[in-house]
Symmetry: C2
């Protein structure tokens, strides 16, 4: 599988890598959804969530993946809904989803809190154990209310190619909302991909020595989002690192390079209780002649204390801060 490496621009990517088969269907669902939210005067946020795959074979058996259960995205979507946003939840198939995320089959299986009541043995009933009822009732009430109000649209991707095509299409549909649209890009997207033209048709056979893979870089589509696909939408990207020394410099570099609104930086091992909001210094937009030069970026740390409050979710504070900033962004126009 050795090959020459090619550099793809967003244009050349979409010109050479085909769209997923169900794209038209999903775009039309998004169009209807956005029209409904405009009628209801609601802000809309696109939440992307979960990891993308890079298949190594056309008949896929093996793939490269990015670590993500989808917790950040699924939890954030719930808080956006609570804050009155309509949510387009674009997630990796089988990653966590808002509401059902509370009942992972591994950590909190729902079959464990259902009981069979044998009062009338010819007509056994199913009930919820007393200790779980209050929490389930809360989750279920929120779930039913969101479904009744039609404020959640769920879209699914698997491969990084699905993701890129879907992201472009949804962004373009959502761009009619201008500043009232937010883009919350929490998915863990591969930086590399294997062009269709280089994939092997069938399962790569073992027994022939070691496996060599060479992958091309995924085009930096944040640049296209800012410049072409969205019109003044409020764009929030994430930067995940494992080396703490790289976090802030890489977040600054991303803002510099793409020109969007916020980078939320997080360290793999601290992400449940600490994130940093990185944005451009608003003072730079005004009068720059006030003595010492202000710094280009503002780093705003957000931390929660999980020892004092173990049930607290940092996404609650992330979303509350973003809603505040988005309101300002909408007003600025």
């Amino acid at each position: 599988m050795h090959s020459e490496s090619t550099s793809f621009s967003a244009e050349s990517y979409f010109a050479t890598q085909g769209p997923p088969p169900n794209l038209e269907h999903e775009v039309s669902a998004v169009r209807t959804f956005v029209a409904q939210q405009i009628q209801q005067n609601r802000n809309v946020v696109l939440v992307t969530s979960g990891g993308t795959t890079v298949p190594l074979e056309l008949n896929v058996v093996r793939f490269l993946d990015n670590f993500s259960a989808g917790t950040r995205g699924a939890t954030s979507a719930e808080y956006f809904l609570k804050a009155g946003y309509a949510v387009i939840f674009m997630h990796r198939q089988f990653s966590l989803q808002p509401f059902s995320r509370h009942y992972s089959h591994s950590t909190n299986p729902f079959l464990d809190f259902l009981e069979i009541d044998q009062v009338d043995s010819s007509d056994p009933q199913i009930s919820v154990t007393a200790d779980k009822r209050a929490h389930l009732l809360e989750v279920l009430t929120a779930y039913k209310s969101v479904h009744a109000s039609g404020t959640l649209l769920t879209l699914t991707f698997i491969t990084v190619n699905d993701y890129l095509w879907l992201l472009r299409a949804v962004s373009q549909e959502l761009s009619v909302m201008r500043r009232r649209a937010m883009y919350y890009l929490a998915a863990a997207v591969s930086d590399f991909f294997l062009p269709r033209q280089k994939m092997s048709e069938h399962k790569i056979q073992s027994g022939k020595g070691s496996l060599h893979i060479e992958m091309d870089q995924v085009p930096k589509i944040l640049k296209s989002m800012v410049d072409e696909w969205t019109h003044d939408g409020f764009i929030v990207s994430f930067k995940l690192e494992t080396d703490p020394l790289l976090l802030i410099p890489k977040a600054h570099a991303a803002l510099e390079r793409y020109g969007h609104q916020v980078v939320i930086g997080n360290d793999l091992h601290r992400r449940k209780f600490e994130v940093v909001f990185v944005s451009r210094n608003p003072q730079l937009n005004g009068d720059a002649s006030t003595g010492s030069a202000p710094s280009t970026f503002v780093d705003h740390w957000l931390r929660i204390d999980l020892i004092r409050d173990p049930s607290k979710e940092i996404e609650e504070d992330i979303i509350s801060e973003l809603v505040r900033r988005h309101e300002e962004w909408v007003k600025q126009k």
Copy 2:
């Protein structure tokens, strides 16, 4: 990440790649479980299920994975339990599990069939919608009964390294049951891995051109299972291919090479309704002087008709055939 390729034997693998941290704890759970089943005079089957990952970094952000939701393993485990076996269910974290598999968050979310009864608004109750009650009652009854009888032990792996260490340890514990132990290896195990010594510590940085990966071959541990870890256990392996022409030859080659009992061959696109049981021809063990030479292997095709019976699961027939063969295997001693 270019490097010399090394060939690992099972011995050199375990000598150089460290064990997962919780191995001792899991081995002791297996030991207790096996002792209980011997007391209860039950056969035990080890079911492996789901795909293994190959992390590319020590602080893992990216990994290679094998396509598998764990449907075959989770479904098979249920039918083994129904047939009276005790089951050690060794599966990939977050892959499907027996019983809860019926309620995937994506295809049949359980929140959809729960209702809130507001008869007394100060004390709302949760009930199951009428159309789902009978099926849930059936699943829940089987689930509770298995938990009450202690016939299911669930173990979890993520990486191919977790898998290999766990498989060896469980096989060695289970070997005390000799012929009464079955090994049903349905997990989709990577053929390749990246030795710890070659992994990068932190997230591989993008922006430096294409990604090169070179992986070593995973040692063929079926050979060690047959020769060293199990003592006359009944071993069933799976062979998944996407090229139909390769299926039978590769299944024959696997039996020839490892000397175990059954290879179940399946084509990626036909696996829900067609499999082939490949085993050695029993006539070869007897008198070989009866005229024309019998073939070395017997290929026994098993098919179901999903159009006539869409709720039929092929695992029901697979397990029934295996139980029959395993009974014969136990008698042969």
